[in-house]
């Protein structure tokens, strides 16, 4: 089932556990969220003073965000605010933590593991390695990275962008008295850790310092408020698109159908090819915000002949979405 919806989770209220997995002995951890199929996970790790590790690699992409302390990695020193994207198979230099440090570790593909090695794997995407101090090496940019966008007062630094999936890792802040009066959801899962500050979301209440969420796609969140300001580290697992609306009671299935309805309206040929192949259902999925959309369209009326019937009603309930059947291969 991949990762469950973990929101909100305030990790500061939880104890660290001893990390007894190879490569991590001498550190402690808290799981923020865990993919129960693959082992991919988001962790907060406390490296005790004196922690050391030889050079080596992971068979998973790894992202690191240093919360406090100093971590020596090869000839670099990673301090508070340091971000690193370590592609799978990339050999990191020897690690030592003289006085202790805390960091967020994100294993994107599988559970934590380690293989001692001075050399990177031959298939490693070495050019994907990134290492910078997000506090010092980048300016804040406006949050209108995507349209429709967040309100003024939400600023962002994009630290990593995956060109294939358009997944993002970013630092963001909300200025004092930030407010945004809409309900949002995305096609992507979204994850955040509050480095400092408290913000409020209409569904979940306040998320303070040390607050975390892993939110699967299509789940309502917002309206938003932030009284004194917040700085946080966030990620998505694919393209971030803001779907805004004002119905607090919709469920993820209804939100998904509304997203698909947007594709239908905005890229109808793509939609037809993807969704209607073998289905012979020329209108798009029901959209709770525009319930009469198909009914008013005379072309669809002529083609399809029914609206609001039992089959349309059934589509909007919280049931698993049926995938289009594959066409049987034609026999020669």
């Amino acid at each position: 089932m991949a990762r469950p919806h973990i929101e909100p989770f305030v990790e500061l209220n939880e104890p660290f556990l001893k990390f007894d997995v190879g490569g991590f002995k001498g550190s402690h951890y808290k799981v923020l969220s865990l993919d129960t199929d693959t082992g991919a996970c988001s962790l907060k790790v406390r490296f005790d003073g004196g922690y050391k590790r030889k050079p080596g690699l992971h068979y998973s992409d790894l992202e690191v965000f240093v919360l406090n302390g100093e971590i020596k990695v090869g000839d670099q020193v990673w301090r508070e605010g340091h971000y690193a994207m370590v592609p799978a198979g990339y050999a990191l230099g020897a690690i030592s933590v003289p006085k202790g440090a805390e960091a967020l570790l994100y294993f994107n593909d599988s559970e934590p593991h380690f293989e001692e090695s001075g050399d990177s794997h031959e298939l490693t995407l070495k050019e994907a390695f990134k290492s910078l101090n997000s506090y010092e090496d980048m300016p804040w940019g406006p949050g209108n990275l995507v349209t429709p966008s967040v309100a003024t007062g939400c600023l962002i630094k994009v630290l990593h962008y995956d060109p294939l999936t358009e997944a993002l890792s970013f630092l963001y802040c909300m200025t004092p008295e930030f407010a945004q009066d809409n309900i949002s959801y995305h096609d992507s899962a979204e994850e955040s850790y509050h480095i400092w500050g408290t913000s409020w979301m209409m569904q979940f209440g306040e998320l303070p310092t040390g607050g975390y969420f892993w939110r699967p796609a299509y789940i309502n969140h917002g309206a938003f408020r932030c009284k004194l300001g917040t700085i946080a580290f966030g990620r998505t697992d694919s393209k971030l698109h803001n779907y805004f609306h004002y119905n607090p009671w919709t469920n993820p299935k209804q939100n998904l159908l509304r997203a698909a309805a947007q594709v239908y309206r905005q890229r109808p040929l793509l939609y037809q090819w993807q969704a209607s192949d073998g289905h012979n259902h020329p209108h798009g999925p029901p959209d709770f915000q525009y319930p009469g959309y198909y009914e008013k369209n005379p072309n669809i009326r002529a083609l399809h002949g029914h609206f609001g019937g039992e089959s349309d009603e059934r589509d909007s309930r919280d049931a698993p979405m049926k995938l289009p059947k594959k066409k049987a291969k034609a026999k020669k």
Binding site: L123, A151, T152, M202, Y246
Partner: protein, 96 residues
């Protein structure tokens, strides 16, 4: 030979990950169980917020009719009363 064949077929380093070691498997199992408990605690806590949440929803529905709804960035659109959604029957759910 089998290893070499697997290597030649693989396109990503991730595909060549060795089988899960015993310590990693134990860690995985333990943390799946802990996460289940954490999820249940979150659901319980969030269910306890229901009364407050209905007040927050009512306030939100008032704001979008007066100050407006953030349609895109700072662009606000006032929503007329006849388009304001009504609470469906039953308990609302926020954690899925």
């Amino acid at each position: 030979m089998a290893k070499a064949r697997a290597k030649a077929k693989a396109k990503r380093v991730q595909d060549l990950k060795p089988p899960r070691a015993a310590d990693a498997a134990a860690w995985f199992k333990e943390n799946i169980a802990l996460q289940k408990k954490r999820y249940a605690a979150i659901v319980k806590e969030q269910n306890g917020l229901e009364r407050d949440r209905q007040k927050w929803y009512a306030n939100f529905l008032r704001i979008i009719q007066t100050k407006g709804f953030n349609a895109n960035g700072d662009l606000r659109v006032k929503i007329p009363a006849n388009l304001i959604p009504k609470k469906p029957k039953g308990r609302s759910r926020v954690v899925f």
